[in-house]
């Protein structure tokens, strides 16, 4: 691996020195572009009380292209598919090289607090969410209990 760019070093430093409440991101010792991430489910959401693990990878061209990130913990959410891939505009077309790991993780945390079934990635979940929100939320809660609390 080539020398770690200054920008990544700085971001990593800031993440550990001024951590975002409810978000934890630690780089692997042997690969400083690979982060173990955990996000606490926002309060008053069906994910409250859960701790969700994610993996984050900074590709060679970061920050020209966005970090690659996915959920490792199973989660019932209209914008997150079965493989943990996330549907979030800033991770795709709306990525800007001025955005940071920090801002992206905050956006994901916000997405947990405000699911958007009109822009789905997990079609079946989004369908359920639109048809019967109450049951969908209950399922999300159940999944949180089963997979994100241990």
């Amino acid at each position: 691996m080539a020398n770690l760019p200054k920008r990544i070093i700085k971001e990593t430093q800031r993440l550990t020195e001024e951590p975002v409440p409810g978000i934890n991101a630690v780089p692997h010792e042997d690969n400083l572009r690979y982060f173990d991430v955990s996000i606490h489910g926002p309060s008053q959401s069906p994910y409250e009380g859960g701790i969700f693990r994610l993996e984050l990878f900074l590709p060679e061209d970061y920050p020209m292209c966005p970090p690659k990130i996915r959920f490792l913990t199973k989660i019932y959410h209209p914008n997150i598919d079965r493989l943990g891939r996330i549907c979030l505009d800033v991770l795709k077309s709306n990525w800007s090289p001025a955005l940071q790991i920090r801002t992206i993780l905050l956006s994901i945390q916000a997405l947990l607090g405000a699911p958007n079934p009109d822009d789905p990635l997990a079609n079946d979940v989004a369908q359920k969410w639109k048809e019967d929100e109450k049951t969908a939320i209950e399922t999300a809660r159940q999944w949180t209990r089963t997979h994100a609390m241990s």
């Binding site: 760019p5 409440p21 020209m64 292209c65 690659k68 800007s96 090289p97």
Partner: protein, 452 residues
């Protein structure tokens, strides 16, 4: 006694200038005052329990007037017939005593009025009972159904609160003086630092880099204020600030900054800068312990007299300069405009993409600045939106977007950082060329983002 002792100790042991002690809250003298209030209350037959139980429904202790001119008064609320509120749970004996006192006060008042004496606190104690509404109280006839108040004359409490306020006055004066002298120091240090830290271009012996490091550390340590958003830029307590200042001094020592100075004057200036910060700390500490002393003495006042002034008095005088002043904020502001801003800090001139100094700086039509190398990378991938504001300006930029005055400024103030960025760019270019050669060989390998 415990706090009084502690207070005296702190005043004498904290390296405060000797003349400050005379401006401090005179705790012992105020305590004596409290004793006199206690005696007065006893003489009137009002004991602590009775006052405590009756606070609100029967007794009220208030501050009349403005912060500049006020008098504290204790009043008893009576109904239209001049009697005490019914249903107030005190024992018969206490009630009798209080009624006796009220009768006495009424008699005194009537006598005073009959002999034509001016009432001292005119209009403040009005009586509603029929007996008093004879010839002399025209214009003071109360509404039939409102309860009214009879003032119980106390003297030592007036002394207590006036003493306390005049002490706040002198504390305020001291603070204003200290602030003025620190500000003078700040300006003189700032002017001198500006001289020794001019860039090498103008002065062959320049301490630009060591001084930048001093100020960078100073800002990073955030001694008097927290700079963390989560703590919302709160002012630190003097204890916290003291620790932070120590951290800062140790760090300066550890990095051997004084040894890096080339100008003989710099070392002296650094000492002055440290001394000035110590002075700010001393003023803040003096301010803080006096505020504690005020709180404690008011608490004691309440405990001994049960008049309930500890919560109300600070509110009443909350606009007093001494209590309302934002000394730390004002001084830190002066410091940042007159000293810290003399030397530009690297953080303010970083490219938001690569986090190196923005050399050469390209200013887009939206006025956001990036380094030319990052801009070229954006253009190569046909990214048209500004990374900061998403305006469609990236592809329109060309060599004419390089900001020449910013370029000159950066080269002048950050020569080392500019050279570093230059080296990084060169290495990157070499690597890119190498990659192109290799990709040419292994045909079909996708360039850019898709490689993971």
């Amino acid at each position: 006694m415990k706090f009084a002792h502690e207070f005296m100790e702190t005043l004498s042991s904290s390296a405060f200038p000797p003349e400050w002690a005379s401006s401090a809250i005179q705790y012992k003298q105020l305590k004596k005052c409290i004793k006199r209030v206690q005696k007065e209350l006893q003489a009137l037959g009002l004991d602590v329990d009775m006052l405590k139980d009756g606070r609100g429904p029967v007794f009220e202790y208030m501050f009349d007037g403005t912060v500049q001119s006020f008098h504290p008064k204790l009043v008893v609320k009576v109904d239209e017939s001049g009697g005490l509120q019914v249903g107030w749970g005190i024992d018969e004996e206490a009630r009798r005593r209080l009624e006796e006192l009220l009768r006495k006060l009424r008699r005194q008042k009537e006598m005073g009025e009959r002999s034509g004496e001016q009432e001292e606190r005119e209009g403040r104690s009005s009586m509603s009972s029929d007996e008093s509404s004879d010839e002399s109280v025209e214009g003071d006839i109360p509404h039939p159904h409102t309860t009214s108040e009879i003032e119980i004359p106390l003297f030592a409490d007036v002394e207590f609160f006036h003493t306390l306020t005049s002490e706040l006055e002198s504390l305020d004066e001291l603070q204003t003086k200290a602030k003025g002298s620190i500000e003078t120091d700040i300006i003189s240090i700032g002017d001198s630092v500006a001289r020794v830290a001019t860039p090498k271009t103008f002065n062959s012996r320049s301490d630009l880099y060591p001084w930048r490091e001093v100020f960078r550390l100073y800002l990073e340590t955030s001694i008097f204020f927290s700079t963390q958003e989560i703590e919302s830029y709160k002012e630190r307590t003097p204890e916290e600030a003291e620790k932070k200042l120590q951290v800062f001094e140790n760090e300066i020592e550890r990095l051997g900054i004084a040894k890096q100075f080339k100008c003989s004057n710099s070392k002296v200036l650094l000492e002055q800068f440290m001394g000035m910060n110590q002075m700010v700390l001393r003023v803040l500490r003096f301010q803080a312990i006096n505020k504690v002393a005020m709180r404690k003495i008011l608490k004691k006042f309440d405990k001994r007299t049960a008049l309930g002034a500890a919560p109300t008095f600070p509110l009443f005088i909350s606009t007093h300069n001494f209590l309302a002043s934002q000394l730390a904020r004002a001084l830190c502001f002066t410091m940042s405009t007159r000293i810290l801003s003399i030397i530009p800090q690297l953080d303010d001139y970083l490219c938001p993409i690569c986090q190196y100094i923005t050399i050469k700086p390209v200013r887009l039509a939206c006025s956001h600045v990036f380094c030319v190398r990052c801009l070229v990378k954006l253009q190569r991938e046909y990214k048209s939106n500004c990374p900061m504001c998403r305006n469609d300006v990236v592809l329109k930029a060309d060599a004419s977007n390089i900001d020449p005055s910013l370029l000159r400024f950066l080269k002048c103030y950050f020569p080392k950082e500019c050279r570093e960025k230059q080296r990084v760019n060169e290495r990157e270019v070499v690597r890119e060329q190498w990659m192109t050669v290799r990709e040419g060989k292994e045909e079909g390998a996708e360039p850019g983002c898709a490689v993971m």
